[in-house]
Symmetry: none
Subunit: 190 residues, 4 copies
Amino acid sequence: MPDGDNNGVLDARQVRTRAKLQGAMLALLAEEPFERITVRAIAEAAQVGYATFFRHYPDKGALLHDLADDEITELLGRAAPLFTADDTRGSCVALIAYVAERRALWRALLTGGAAPILRERLVDQSRVLALKLGGPPSESRSPLELRVTYATSAVLEIIAWWLREGEAMPIEEIAAILDRLVIRPTLAEG
Amino acid sequence: MPDGDNNGVLDARQVRTRAKLQGAMLALLAEEPFERITVRAIAEAAQVGYATFFRHYPDKGALLHDLADDEITELLGRAAPLFTADDTRGSCVALIAYVAERRALWRALLTGGAAPILRERLVDQSRVLALKLGGPPSESRSPLELRVTYATSAVLEIIAWWLREGEAMPIEEIAAILDRLVIRPTLAEG
Amino acid sequence: MPDGDNNGVLDARQVRTRAKLQGAMLALLAEEPFERITVRAIAEAAQVGYATFFRHYPDKGALLHDLADDEITELLGRAAPLFTADDTRGSCVALIAYVAERRALWRALLTGGAAPILRERLVDQSRVLALKLGGPPSESRSPLELRVTYATSAVLEIIAWWLREGEAMPIEEIAAILDRLVIRPTLAEG
Amino acid sequence: MPDGDNNGVLDARQVRTRAKLQGAMLALLAEEPFERITVRAIAEAAQVGYATFFRHYPDKGALLHDLADDEITELLGRAAPLFTADDTRGSCVALIAYVAERRALWRALLTGGAAPILRERLVDQSRVLALKLGGPPSESRSPLELRVTYATSAVLEIIAWWLREGEAMPIEEIAAILDRLVIRPTLAEG
DNA sequence: CTCTAATCGAGACGGTACGTCGCGTCTTACG
DNA sequence: CGTAAGACGCGACGTACCGTCTCGATTAGAG
């Protein structure tokens, strides 16, 4: 939750400023690694005073999370059925289609300089979610934690590859690959 | 290749200093993310003058690579058979056993703050290697690039998990999981 | 002259606000140097909105002058007889008695953080006044400017000392000292 | 005593840098009030990196004191005889002559923006010195503290006036005025 | 075993980004 | 519809780290 939140009521100016900052961050992420993006560059790209940045976020990481956290939650919601639905293939298509809708955002987040951070956060959230949903106390051949970590990471890797280099490949095809390479083996292991 | 290289002939003092620097880097990596490790901290931990660091490496990234590159090459050499040998299960065991031998090193590199950097470098090297070995002009169901990216990342994820949290699990077991979750599906896809 | 002046006619609210601001300034001056008093602190101490300050004064210096200028004029009016009256001793007593009446104000102004500013302004005004009154084209042993500067500064120094540390000393005594140390020598010089 | 002092042993570079900083401070003091001189301006004028300033002084006040304190001590040493010697007139001449020798320095310190700070420090030091020398337990007509405060301030005022506006006036003349206006009345009071 | 050249410890320095604070302006939401 | 609250642009602050540089003081390894 962003800083300076006044009971969720934001001045119109604040809304505008945050939108500008988030846009600037996304734009810069497409160009260089997160660590090398300076707050000054963000402020400049956002056409916003340098100090103003800190009136909204304590550091650039907070801006990234403000950007990403809602999206992560949404994505995880779409990914959960992969491992619970009967029609894994269809779930894969649905997941990829969702990412495709927000292609620009996810390309910046997953193929840009923030990828490692996003990946870590997604894996963490997946773990939390999986433990909550829990399944039966695991009589599977490998620990739940390992399977979640693996599956999340692998799904992201494949999506990232597709966003980065496989734009020519149709959604159905990448979804099928995802299904065969990751989802089915993981389910078989459970 | 490190700086100050005098035809590959190193003064005894240089050898000592570099060893100290590498040891310090490994020790620090276990505690905090690579980005937050300062050259000053490395020099201090290595009991070495600050400027001395720069006589050996242009920056801390170079030190990390000097540390890691030989290991990466070695690891890739051990990993290649996974996808070529008949006995994938045995290859998995061999790979994991190798990692286990150098547990301290690989734990620092794969579970510490440098993990994203190492991962990226390993994936890159894998791709280079795979394209060089390059099987027949691919009649497989998914692009070689994708399979390499996926497989490398997945193998690393599983090894990292094992080093981080699965120390209780015997080598054979984690190797078997690796085989079932990653290697066989990838081969099936090829 | 303060801002927002509407032909010298002030809304009752404006009068109240300015009084609050002036009171706050005086209170703060007793505690810390003028330069370190922030407009925010003044507004807060005055229980007034931050922006409201600027509706009354362009900056904190203007508030100080609004506070001080009338008093300075009054004080100078009382001080002028020192150098013109026959009974210098009585004039000294009158001057000190006047300061004593407004002890709180003058203590804040002369011994607090604004002292250097006040001193400079008083010396300036003295000079202006002296040149206006300007005796005969000076056949004295030292320049009028020097004598005025010296005398003003010295009178202030003595009054400030009395306000700061000499509260035990009766008005007559400090007045006598002032007379002997400053007034008589200055007149003898003229 | 300046910062970073290593047993009084200074690197040649440090000596150079401090000299540059002090020169820059003096130059700037001649132009604008101390409070409005920025550290950035000092560093730039001294042709020195901004951060380097802080390696030598914690703030601009410390630089000013480093500049002034030795001079203050020296000046006080020259001023002490004023109140102890038989020949007050000669002592006045000696004092003014000393100031005249270092005219540039003292003009910057006493007529520039740092004047209030210098004045305060000088008065403080005078008080310390006077209490140390401390004549007989005072049977005088006014408190020693008051006389010291007055005399120091008055001497400074007269010197400052001379440096600021009275350059045409010969040393002997201003010394005589100083003697008549301040020294003799103060001694008479003691 | 000696001498000479390299390496080293120490740390000052110019530079750049940080995050904070205060000013004075200008917009906004609310009464 | 006016006014307080406070967001904003600006720019200085003091800090941290980078990578360069100069000093002497060791110390290795060639002769």
